[in-house]
């Protein structure tokens, strides 16, 4: 799969809320293949950056642009939220919903949804109301829903935050497979081990700034900044 919407370009993007700068200014280019991992402490702006890239935040300063026109770009992205958003429907219908939006017949969409549910380990739960799923299961449901349209670019905001190690391994396998199939993945995580396993390159945020970035090897073996070093080592940063 060759991406039609990348590269994504951020130029001096800055987000302000309530008169306070919460992100940026940040400039970066997202292109090619692979998994980009966003790291950084709580409140450093990971969620804000992902949302700005995806077009969920109104960017008043700076510019976010895709290679393609915005409509094509929007149709080719998916987002997994830090807190899963659960529709008041059965699990299978939640997962099928994005397909229905693009005009798939209900039966076709349901069938695909069941397969997608199976891939994240939710096969036994497809007929339950999504609301009753556990926190981790809701995250898996959200991942299945995000994958079902086979997006070119997939944003994930701490998708494994509530998962046990077995589920995490399954999810990581799914993400790696998606990456190998050509999906460009941008994902935030607090889990350094996960970052090491999945990353092709890393963005490290600190106080809303892009404090350090590089390929996995550069970032983990030749860390430049003290803050990133401390973060990787799990030091309690003063």
């Amino acid at each position: 799969m060759v991406s039609t919407i990348l590269p994504l370009k951020l130029e001096n993007v800055e987000l302000r809320r309530g008169g306070r700068r919460i992100l940026g200014p940040i400039s970066l280019n997202l292109s090619g293949q692979g998994i980009t991992i966003i790291m950084g402490p709580n409140g450093s702006g990971k969620t804000s950056l992902l949302r700005a890239m995806h077009g969920l935040e109104r960017v008043r300063r700076g510019k976010v642009s895709w290679q393609s026109d915005i409509q094509t770009a929007r149709a080719q992205q998916a987002f997994v939220f830090q807190t899963p958003i659960v529709m008041r429907r059965r699990v299978v219908d939640c997962i099928a919903y994005p397909l229905l939006l693009t005009g798939a017949a209900r039966s076709v969409a349901r069938k695909a949804a069941v397969e997608q549910a199976a891939s994240v380990g939710l096969l036994d739960s497809v007929d339950l109301p999504a609301e009753v799923l556990s926190g981790g299961e809701k995250q898996k449901m959200a991942l299945a829903r995000a994958l079902i349209r086979r997006p070119e670019v997939l944003f994930l905001d701490e998708p494994c935050a509530n998962l046990d190690t077995k589920s995490m391994a399954e999810i990581e396998a799914i993400l790696t497979a998606a990456r190998d199939a050509g999906t460009r993945i941008v994902m935030s995580t607090h889990n350094v081990g996960q970052a090491r396993r999945l990353a092709d390159d890393v963005l490290f945020l600190w106080d809303g700034y892009l404090h350090e970035q590089g390929t996995k090897a550069q970032f983990f073996t030749a860390t430049q900044t003290a803050e990133a070093k401390a973060h990787i080592n799990g030091d309690l940063i003063p």
Binding site: Q77, A78, R88, L101, E131
Partner: protein, 234 residues
């Protein structure tokens, strides 16, 4: 107290014998108020949802206006509809005055704001939940409203039932535009007003009990139809 007991007894008798007049006006009550509820829901529910998902300059004004319209005095609505549809009025040519149709029209005007307003409240909460997801999925405005109406259908049923409750018990407007004509526009509420005026409290009370039973029956039937109470959470 005596009157009430006699009213109950008479109500029982009217129902058991399936009194022809009672059946007729009960059916008309249902026809008018259900008709008005269906039409008002078709307008009010999507409008409430639309209002919840759209940001525009006059939004607050429209919502305030909608809430104010909830308190529209039925008598005044009836009067205005009467003037509009009277022979010399702008809509007089349709010849609808003193027909069930114009009674439906008057009730639609009275209950649409109620249904729209309650729907707006419910949908606004759901929209707050769904907002990021529906934006992220690149939905069109129509798709958003559709998803919200569908997933909020339980709350919306409540909105419609509130409208129906107002309509079935309403007397001021339909009295004026319908005229309470026997075998033409008489419904339960106008019949009650008439019998009370004539001093036949037992019959009036009997009709009143039938009216209450009817309102409850419709509520239960609709809830059962949509299995609101059966599903655990929604």
């Amino acid at each position: 107290m005596n009157d009430i007991l006699r009213g109950l007894a008479e109500a029982g008798q009217l129902v058991v014998t399936a009194d022809a007049d009672l059946v007729e006006i009960t059916a008309r009550s249902l026809q008018v108020s259900l008709g008005a509820t269906i039409i008002a829901s078709a307008i009010g529910l999507p409008f409430g949802a639309w209002l919840a998902v759209n940001r525009f300059r006059m939004r607050r004004t429209v919502i305030a206006l909608l809430n104010a319209l909830m308190g529209l005095p039925p008598v005044v609505v009836g009067l205005i509809v009467y003037v509009l549809f009277s022979r010399s009025g702008p809509l007089g040519v349709f010849g609808l005055l003193f027909t069930p149709t114009v009674m439906v029209i008057a009730q639609v005007i009275i209950i649409t704001p109620i249904i729209a307003s309650i729907a707006h409240q419910a949908i606004r909460e759901l929209w707050a939940d769904y907002h990021d997801l529906l934006i992220s999925l690149n939905t069109t405005r129509g798709q958003r409203i559709k998803a919200l109406l569908w997933d909020g259908r339980r709350a919306l049923l409540t909105a419609s039932l509130a409208g129906f409750g107002r309509a079935i018990g309403e007397v001021g407007a339909i009295m004026i535009v319908g005229g309470n004509i026997d075998h033409a526009t008489r419904v339960l509420t106008t019949a009650i007003a008439l019998e009370t005026g004539k001093g036949d409290f037992a019959l009036a009370l009997a009709l009143g009990f039938v009216l209450i039973a009817l309102a409850i029956a419709v509520n239960l039937a609709l809830h059962m139809l949509t299995r609101t109470e059966k599903d655990s959470r929604w």
